[in-house]
């Protein structure tokens, strides 16, 4: 059975810096928080065989992915003393220099946020069915591989 409170982590297109700033702002009423840690994935203009990546086009097996994001969230709250946790991932086209992944954890204490953030980002990379197609200037593509 799937949990009913599964959130949709996906956003169409890039995640803006205003959205991130605003998300930070909203946490300033939570005065038990002492430390935030934020991970941002940004699309790199990698050069591969003389061609430069201009964007990544993201697709996902959305239902399964949101379920996996939910499982990661539950597991992180169980393992770490977190006050808040937010994950956003792009779908569709994200140009180089733009942000495709935003993970935000908050806790009373700093040691906790370092451990929790790395755990969550590594779990996202390993467990969530999201697929990045690297688009070159000449509109050819290759499938992104995580390392």
């Amino acid at each position: 059975m799937k949990d009913k409170k599964i959130k949709n982590v996906f956003r169409e297109g890039a995640i803006s810096s205003e959205f991130i700033g605003n998300s930070i702002y909203k946490h300033q009423t939570k005065t038990s928080i002492g430390a935030h840690n934020i991970f941002l994935g940004q699309v790199r203009a990698d050069e591969i065989d003389g061609k430069t990546v201009t964007a990544i086009d993201y697709t996902a097996y959305e239902d399964m992915a949101n379920q996996k994001f939910h499982d990661i969230r539950e597991s992180a709250f169980e393992k770490f003393d977190l006050t808040c946790m937010h994950i956003y991932h792009s779908l569709g086209t994200v140009k180089t220099g733009e942000i495709c992944l935003f993970v935000f954890v908050s806790s009373p204490r700093r040691k906790v946020v370092f451990e929790a953030l790395e755990y969550i980002v590594e779990a996202i990379k390993a467990d969530v069915p999201v697929f990045g197609k690297e688009i070159f200037e000449d509109e050819t593509h290759q499938w992104k591989k995580n390392t």
Partner: protein, 77 residues
Amino acid sequence: MNITVKYFGQIVDVTNKNQETIEIIDGQISDVLQLLNNKYELLKNKDFQIAQNQELVSLETKLTGAEIALLPPFSGG
């Protein structure tokens, strides 16, 4: 039974479609895979995992009639 099969990422480069319904007699995941390998010759060059009902499964897992997905290596973030 009729089973919905979904394709993702570079698997779509081989199947040229995002999903289809296949008809198969009772069996296990490997039976679906054999059927798809016959239909899409280039599929055997591809690296992928298989999910049934949104959970990764092995070739020996029994078919339940739930949705199946062919998932190439994940590359989120």
